[in-house]
Symmetry: D3
Subunit: 139 residues, 6 copies
């Protein structure tokens, strides 16, 4: 086994991470970068894998456009519950890839059918915080 495999600062891993960080910055903007930065001292490997794996390996795969990926993500995060911080980052990402506030709000109403009203309500109020911080309204 290559001894550098788990060295997140090896040339290979650095390249993978940097590719992921580019995607993350493009999609999530400042909010995503802040999450990675906040992990720098605490769990640099978690930050590496969020960037290198989640964004570099998965998010930027060609099989599904960014708008579709965000719709899946909103569905998953609404259903899981307790993921309001991640939901806010991804509501921002939704706006960045062209979903309108009304479409985001509609996706959360749709999720109520399958995940119940409390999850949909919590997601909707998390979206409101993002809309408010960007000076836009949901409807």
């Amino acid at each position: 086994m290559r001894t550098t495999q788990h060295d997140i600062d090896s040339a290979d891993n650095l390249e993978r991470r940097n590719r992921g960080l580019e995607v993350l910055r493009e999609i999530d903007g400042e909010a995503g970068s802040k999450v990675i930065d906040s992990l720098a001292d605490l769990s640099p490997a978690l930050g590496h894998h969020v960037a290198a794996f989640a964004f570099g390996d998965i998010y930027s795969r060609p099989g599904l456009d960014a708008r579709s990926r965000q719709l899946v993500t909103i569905g998953v995060l609404t259903a899981l519950g307790g993921c309001e911080p991640q939901l806010k980052v991804h509501v921002g990402a939704c706006l960045n890839v062209g979903l309108t506030p009304d479409e985001i709000i509609e996706a959360m109403l749709h999720a109520a059918v399958y995940a119940g009203f409390p999850r949909a309500l919590n997601a909707t109020f998390a979206a409101k915080e993002v809309f408010d911080s960007r000076g836009i309204s949901g409807s």
Copy 2:
């Protein structure tokens, strides 16, 4: 309060249910109708509300196209876990509204980032059963 409100066979409720059943048949095809039929003696009110509310009131709202709604639904059902029967109905619905097998499989890979690999694996194997029953392959 109108005494007919909770009579699921009142004129109003019948009209709402029939509108929903039309949407359900269009989207889910036979698989959806079978679920409603199987509830006829067991819990007719649950069958009514799946048709009238889930499909009539929510699914057919104009704010989001059917493809987008299915992506949210796949995200929610993959994340919830233990919803393989519903996932199979909705994988069929995904195909009916124009998502390709590869896009469905990609959406489930995407969900792995947020809901973990076990949920994504179970969803992918549920999709396989639908693909197999329709004589198509996932990749």
Copy 3:
């Protein structure tokens, strides 16, 4: 399809919503109305369906009394986790329909067997906030 189906302010939908709002005010009191009000600009359709569907169509069905419905609701919300805002509204509703603080607390202890102690602890502390705000103690 009737063009008014998804117009939440059509005569039919307004009537359904108003019937639901009556139930909601009776059961949840001010806390429930506040949730609907807070959705007015953000997601009026979500507010409509909470009132018209959750309270009008389901909650007020004759098949189960309000006390029994609240016991089921406390069970669901304790188990889901991350639904503290909804749990607080429903702890208030429990008191409104005649459950005693001790019965609510006992229901949450009972839920610990099936959903684990952390969920029961979080629910119990959410109940405490409601009890405190009403000037009553839990035991």
Copy 4:
């Protein structure tokens, strides 16, 4: 520390377990005893604590009647998902403590509002299996 504390066959623990088994047999009937029996070789301590703690210490507490406890339990198990075996035992217990099939079905419809339709559907079909095995219908 008493050396017998974790000996599930100490006099104290045997007494606690037997009290719980009595409650379990009264409430769950044969279905509950079968679960405990199936743990005898596999995880006797788990069987002991289901009987001694879940049924002896909690279920039989005086603060809430058996009907109310079953309603909470149905809510929790419907919401958790993936607990169909336990749900079936408790649907049987519901019938044993006097809930009617229609009330059980109604409780699961009620749970759909908070936990989503897929969880309610799975619970309802689990209930059907119990009703069928007892030769009764749900509506």
Copy 5:
């Protein structure tokens, strides 16, 4: 049935609770005791069973060492989500039984594979609060 069974201050129950409280104090330290204390007026029976059952009956069983139990607990609490208060108590407990901050952080990264990145991120930030309050850093 002994009339004292559900009297949490009977001699038997007091002895069980005190044995549990000893374990709790040894493992969780002050953070655990505070949780029990906060339940004294609100739900003394819940406090009793956390001490007597969770810590006395289960935690101190000889079949698994404290380090192993904490690893399982971190896995469960990370996966459940919405259990940040309990996670913080148990991150403290992890440190008390000899897990290093790096091992705790690594366990949460490991959990990301199975429970998804959002749950792992929330757990990691909860751990950070405990590390900060003890003046230690995670990596």
Copy 6:
């Protein structure tokens, strides 16, 4: 961006996958390889990432020994519910890395405190299937 990044059969990705497959075979044995094989036509990218990311990048990191990782995994999978297929693979992995049947069963009893008895029961019965298939008993 390198055009080969998402080509799972590029030299880099093949190397990462092969390193992961080695770990997977060592830990999970035949059961793990079967899962990857079953994904070959269905979702080769999911199979790649389970091997390359889950086993290559995360599982084999030096920060936590295999026994500890399995304890975390058992905790997560027990808590999630509905992951019986993955739980069985990992119960086998537990045995492969030196956990005894009694320790696995004890870990699941421990999880009952935090995730509730139904999850612990389902996990324990999944473990039984693995023990039976290997001709060993749980206690």
